[in-house]
Symmetry: C2
Subunit: 226 residues, 2 copies
């Protein structure tokens, strides 16, 4: 579903250059659940953004759902992301003036496919926020905001879900509910899930764990078949 | 250093009311390191904001460094916070147009006590960001932004440091460096540290752990004397 070949991402100019990704090659096959771990600043969010078509690599290729993203124009790329990709951002990126319900349904409404009342209710129930749908992000706790971001990414049943530290603000029990939800989606809906985490418990829900260090893949672990 | 007596915090109006804190009474004694744990939405951030004088409780009293905060006017409260309190926010609250260095030194400059070059260098070194001092928050990873927020709170050597999930965005190893730094400050500088976390490893660095659920204290654990 997603393939990266020799992806490099460099920020800044000559003297001020930061090499965020230094030649990453890997596959995220359909229906698999991959966790990505590594030190702060090792390139995890950058890798996710390049893989999801949110950022163009400096060099190398990204094949996303069969499309070479460097060959797509902005409109085609936006359409591909809107129809096939879900992204949970590390800093949530919720719209402060919209309610929980409006934030969660926005991408689908922009795509011209507004979700049914019952679909919205289901997703809010799954992340434990059914009671808060008319509140705004500033009236929610950190973990509640994170769950709104998760609901927004899940509601469109994306072919590929990218989640950048989706349980960072959650207590252990809520985190486990969310992780079980993600694993269930991968198994039953054949969704491809790519999740950055530094929580080993979260990583244990995945089929495989990739380790990133200094912008390069430093290792890989496969889960024992359950 | 900080005492809460029957603190209640209610948000919203009649039909839409949310009781974030439901009568919390506790002490954070000078030189102690307390961790606060509890489910997402249980009132941890609200407790911290009331204890630090960033928010006024609906009822009950907060004694902060000897001052009853409901009796202070805005100017006195601002001065108290500026001189004695450090706060690491759950969502960092960095200023996007300022560099790392400017963000870290801002509170002290506003207090009319700009820090020396070497003090700034020391603090940036302690959080592992010496190389990035001229970058802006948007050019940093999530964990790097969190560390800027930590450096900003530490640089003034506050009498009381409140840290709301300060290691949420950090990998295990960086988190341990930060936690060791905090514990060292509590022990050598007699700083009072109050830290919200849902990481049991982070909590193990504290002298005592308070458990919050539905806005009330639900239990307490004391660390075995080392
Ligand atoms: N301005 C507000 N209006 C309404 N409800 C609010 C407001 N601010 C906070 N709340 C609610 O108060 C409760 C406690 O919030 P708080 O942020 O203290 O939780 P928390 O324990 O820090 O959670 P987390 O672990 O998710 O950060 C939550 O249910 C939250 O939605
Ligand atoms: N716009 C930018 N300009 C310069 N450097 C950048 C920019 N964006 C990211 N970086 C740098 O690229 C490197 C990788 O960043 P990235 O956000 O991918 O790290 P990460 O592994 O997600 O870290 P964390 O665990 O802290 O979230 C970091 O050193 C970061 O500071
Ligand atoms: Mg990141
Ligand atoms: Mg909180």
């Amino acid at each position: 579903a997603v393939g990266l070949t020799n992806v490099r991402k460099v920020y800044g100019k000559r003297d001020n250059e930061v090499v965020a990704l230094d030649g990453v090659t890997t596959q995220f096959r359909r229906g698999t659940f991959t966790a990505i771990m590594g030190p702060s600043g090792s390139g995890k969010s950058t890798l996710m953004q390049c893989a999801a078509g949110l950022d163009q690599p400096t060099s190398g290729s990204v094949l996303l759902e069969g499309h070479e993203i460097s060959e797509l124009d902005e409109t085609e790329l936006t359409k591909l992301r809107r129809d096939r990709i879900g992204f949970v951002f590390q800093s949530f990126n919720l719209l402060p003036v919209l309610t929980v319900r409006q934030n969660v349904t926005l991408p689908l409404r922009l795509a011209g496919r507004p979700p049914s009342r019952s679909r919205v209710a289901t997703v809010l129930e799954q992340v434990g926020l059914a009671q808060r749908k008319n509140h705004r992000p500033s009236e929610l706790s950190g973990g509640q905001q994170q769950r709104v971001a998760i609901a927004r990414a899940l509601i469109s049943e994306p072919a590929v879900l990218f989640a950048d530290e989706p349980t960072g603000a959650l207590d252990t029990r809520t985190a486990q509910d969310i992780l079980a939800l993600l694993r269930h989606s991968a198994q039953t809906a054949h969704q491809t899930i790519v999740m950055v985490t530094h929580d080993p418990v979260a990583a244990s829900y995945a089929d495989r764990v990739l380790f990133l260090a200094d912008g390069r893949l430093a290792g890989e672990l496969h889960a024992p078949t359950a």
